[in-house]
Symmetry: C2
Subunit: 222 residues, 2 copies
DNA sequence: GATCGAAGAATCGTTGAACAATTCGACAAT
DNA sequence: ATTGTCGAATTGTTCAACGATTCTTCGATC
């Protein structure tokens, strides 16, 4: 007999609710650039397009709004989030906090290996000249860094931050030599991490984030 | 005519929507311990109690779920979040990341003054022997530290973390000499901050958070 | 011709009712 | 003690409606 309630690991075989699937679909369209910042999302239209009720769309909107992917304007509707002044700095402030903190704490061998895997993934993508894959690999790299901390909450925060950045920067950074610079930095950061030089890894990562922020600030209107 | 769209500072005089007010009311009850972890929140009951529609309650639930104050179990209902194994460590991991990062970045004179104000608030509460006020002051102190970074996103993350901790620890820590230790530490941290010794302030804060986590771990089951 | 305002259309916020699907509790059968 | 079944309760979702708010259009006015 199984112990009455093993407590935590209650694996729910739950089919994602309709509202969640709607949110997922919209998230996808947002990441893919099919819905550009500022675009209006009319409840009735989306409800009809996806074949669901307006109320369900509403619930999906609530979820996306909590992730800052869309903004609700009372009595006016929801719009794809737009980059306000200070948002770039804000996003990088969050990243500096959680990424640097995570890497300074080190992590299990498995988690470190995952970081290494992301670095390699980036190298392969570069070799294959696949810019999309390069961008994904970079996100995986930074996701893996946060994952070092083994914190559910930090993971979801990072997921949201990355989703927001995809929304804003999806095509803007298809500049080739952007990425080549990343690759070397990621390699160095990963090497320091593997060598247990956590302090130095943190400094390298911090430097990368600061430089990356400046790049984004110059690319987008200050 | 007003300038076509002054852009950001569009001050909405919006009356909070009904759904938001419901969420607010529930948040209040959660913080105040009227709704204990594990309690079931039946849609119909709450809808009737608050005199709103079931759909509206649903929207409020979605918001609270995104803040981890309640948990949705598909087809079963929403329950007040309970402390799972590792949650305490998780919460403190987030706090270490954002609080230490914020204090290491320093802040404007106004923001530093706000930290000082929170320290004083704590001292007054201690003098008045008001334990509730002491708890609030401590939360203000740590909120003020995060506010140093002037980041909307970090502020809301911190707000959510503190709300979650209030939910779990609302009465547990009414131990008098807990607080007196805090007061001295807060004072020392604030002094270091004011002196511009950011690195040291960060270390002190980190030490405090580590010790606080251990206390909570021993008080609550492991 | 530009400004203002008012009528009308579109959309949102919220409600209430409905119904299938799922879970829960109890009770009977093996 | 396990299994199965039935009924009650609750959730997930849809639909239709209506007041409130915003947007648009279109004249009327200066």
């Amino acid at each position: 007999m199984a112990p009455p309630q093993t407590g935590s690991a209650r694996v729910r075989i739950a089919v994602p609710s309709v509202a969640e699937r709607v949110a997922e679909e919209l998230r996808y369209q947002l990441a893919e650039g099919m819905l550009l910042p500022g675009a209006r999302l009319t409840e009735a239209t989306i409800a009809e397009d996806l074949g669901v009720s307006r109320n369900t769309v509403r619930e999906a909107f609530a979820e996306l709004a909590s992730e800052r992917l869309v903004v609700r304007q009372p009595n006016r509707g929801v719009f794809v989030a737009t980059l306000e002044a200070g948002d770039i700095h804000d996003l990088y402030t969050v990243r500096r906090a959680i990424e640097v903190s995570s890497i300074r704490g080190g992590g299990s061998a498995e988690r470190v290996a995952a970081v290494r895997a992301a670095v390699d993934e980036g190298k392969r993508a570069a070799a294959a000249d696949d810019n999309d894959a390069l961008g994904s690999a970079n996100q995986h790299f930074h996701g893996a860094i946060v994952a070092l901390a083994e914190s559910k909450r930090l993971d979801t925060i990072m997921r949201h931050v990355l989703a927001e950045m995809r929304l804003y920067f999806h095509k803007a950074t298809s500049d080739a030599h952007f990425y080549s610079a990343w690759l070397e930095e990621n390699e160095a950061i990963c090497a320091a991490l593997e060598a247990g030089e956590l302090e130095r890894a943190g400094e390298l990562l911090l430097g990368y984030l600061n430089r990356s922020e400046e790049q984004q600030l110059t690319v987008h209107g200050e």
